[in-house]
């Protein structure tokens, strides 16, 4: 061993990004959670498609006319978005829980860059996985529906937007979850907060008077997701892309708060 005194390149963002990739691929729980995301989303979507195909003869005509085979084949996203969100949360909270965070932070001079590296690396993984899952759900669902009910193809009006957009929606929501993880620091607390915001909040809002709930509802991530999955425009909501834009804004705000918490507090 000798002491190196050569002039050296300053630690760059790319170095931190590469490190995050090593971390993501070297832990089994990552692969496991991604697998759960895929199985839940594709499985439940297929189940939903199968169920309506099997009962098609008993479905009232009015419902048959508004039937949206695209949205139906994406119904598993309801749970898949939670699984991917949990992975987003774990990106940070697992480091806190295991104590790895102190090793990570003492190897990096900028906490903001560490967080940014985590965000970018997870965004890449999340987008790829969410898109694969979304398209797989769509094709599996259409295959199960075909022959019995109307089906959709990617060339249909708004179908590609719905399928690809749903993947984006899942990925952005998972980044939102990552931000919650950084702010809350503890896995259980962060998951509770995330599930509360995504699933419980919409239920609470439905208990409000209709005029009020309609106003609030369209701002909720859940509604934004439902609108994105649907081929038809939904009443009392933002358009699919406007909704996604809103979700991006929420996510940027949450991640900015996360950065503030991470840099201002003791690790």
């Amino acid at each position: 061993m000798s002491i190196t005194t050569t002039t050296e390149r300053r630690q760059g963002f790319v170095d931190l990004l590469a490190s995050e990739w090593v971390k993501i691929r070297s832990v089994r729980s990552t692969v496991f959670t991604l697998l759960i995301t895929a199985v839940l989303t594709i499985g439940i979507s297929s189940l939903g498609a199968f169920a309506i195909a099997a009962n098609w003869n008993h479905v009232p005509v009015a419902q048959r006319l508004t039937f949206d085979p695209t949205s139906r084949s994406l119904s598993g996203v309801l749970l898949g978005q939670l699984a991917l969100g949990v992975l987003g949360i774990l990106v940070f909270t697992a480091e806190v829980a295991t104590g790895t965070i102190s090793a990570t932070l003492t190897a990096a001079s900028s906490r903001t860059k560490v967080l940014l590296a985590k965000i970018v690396m997870f965004a890449i993984v999340a987008v790829i996985v969410a898109e694969i899952v979304s398209f797989a759900s769509f094709f599996a669902g259409q295959a199960l529906l075909s022959g019995t009910t109307p089906t959709a193809s990617l060339g249909g009006t708004n179908v590609l937007r719905a399928v690809a957009g749903t993947g984006l929606y899942m990925a952005i929501l998972a980044l939102f979850a990552l931000g919650i993880g950084v702010i809350v620091r503890h896995t259980a607390g962060a998951i509770t907060t995330f599930v509360g915001l995504v699933l419980v909040l919409p239920l609470l809002v439905t208990a409000l008077p209709t005029s009020l709930s309609n106003d609030i509802n369209k701002f909720l991530p859940f509604t934004i997701g439902q609108t994105m999955m649907s081929v038809h425009p939904q009443p009392d909501t933002f358009s699919a892309w406007a909704g996604l834009g809103l979700l991006v804004i929420y996510t940027i705000i949450i991640l900015a708060i996360a950065n503030w918490r991470l840099t201002s507090r003791d690790a």
């Binding site: 061993m1 000798s2 002491i3 190196t4 050296e8 390149r9 300053r10 630690q11 170095d15 931190l16 590469a18 490190s19 090593v22 971390k23 070297s26 832990v27 089994r28 729980s29 697992a94 480091e95 295991t98 104590g99 790895t100 965070i101 102190s102 090793a103 990570t104 932070l105 003492t106 190897a107 990096a108 001079s109 900028s110 201002s264 003791d266 690790a267």
Partner: protein
Amino acid sequence: MIEARGLTKAYEDTLAVDHLDFQVVEGKVTGFLGPNGAGKSTTMRMIMGLDHPSEGSVLINGQRFSDLKNPLRTIGALLEAKAYHPGRTARNHLLALATTNHISKQRVDEVLDLVGLTSVANRRAGTFSLGMGQRLGIAAALLGDAPLLLFDEPVNGLDPEGILWIRHLLRGLAAEGRGVFVSSHLMSEMALTADHVVVIGRGKLVADTDMANFIDANSGKTTLVRTPKRRELAELLSQHGATMTDVDDDGLQVSGLETAAIGEIAFSAGLVLHELASVSASLEDAFMSLMQDDVEFQSHSSVVHLEGEHA
């Protein structure tokens, strides 16, 4: 060089670190000594940029931690015993850290070999014993071949063989010209390893001195002597340059004279002795007496602390 100036960490109701000034220089092992809860870990976390000082500063080669180009190549640290993901292999844990400071894969294998973990490098770290985990933490500290190294209680959980290994390692690192800062609550361990010692109690600096001076000043031999003629003997001994304190009704604790000399002085003056014993205070004793007033968690106050936590 690590330089702390007025380094202070205040929590809501306590001063964990209270205006510390000290330096850690290259080529020496600097021991950081103090009872549990004295503020050693907080100080080390502030050096490594994990905790923010409330006041004062600590600089590494004149720079703040956040200004370092490649932190691992400037200062390596073992802070927590288990700062790794149990599901990740030892090699991947080190590889993830190495990547951030563009340290080569060869260096990862080198440090694995250095700490004796090569054969278990591809095992998930969650299966490691406490000692192996400690070695992995040390490997991480050594990864960047840094000129400054920090070890927080490195011998915790190690067997005697491991303790000996750490001692040699720290001495070796200092001999290579590195500055080594190592904390411990065990005086005896420090006496064997450190060249210089910084002692703190309740966050305050108690001593900052060469280890040799510290030992000389704090482990002097004394003699206990008991005689019914204490006053007469005390007068004689002080004429011979001894200093002493009274013990019980008939005893003297004498320093500055050999035990044999005391016996001869008493004999030639015809004074009866009931006891003549040489007492060597251990370094541990010296440390304890130095710390007597400074141990934060004394038994009477610990009850209050517990109640506070439950409230």
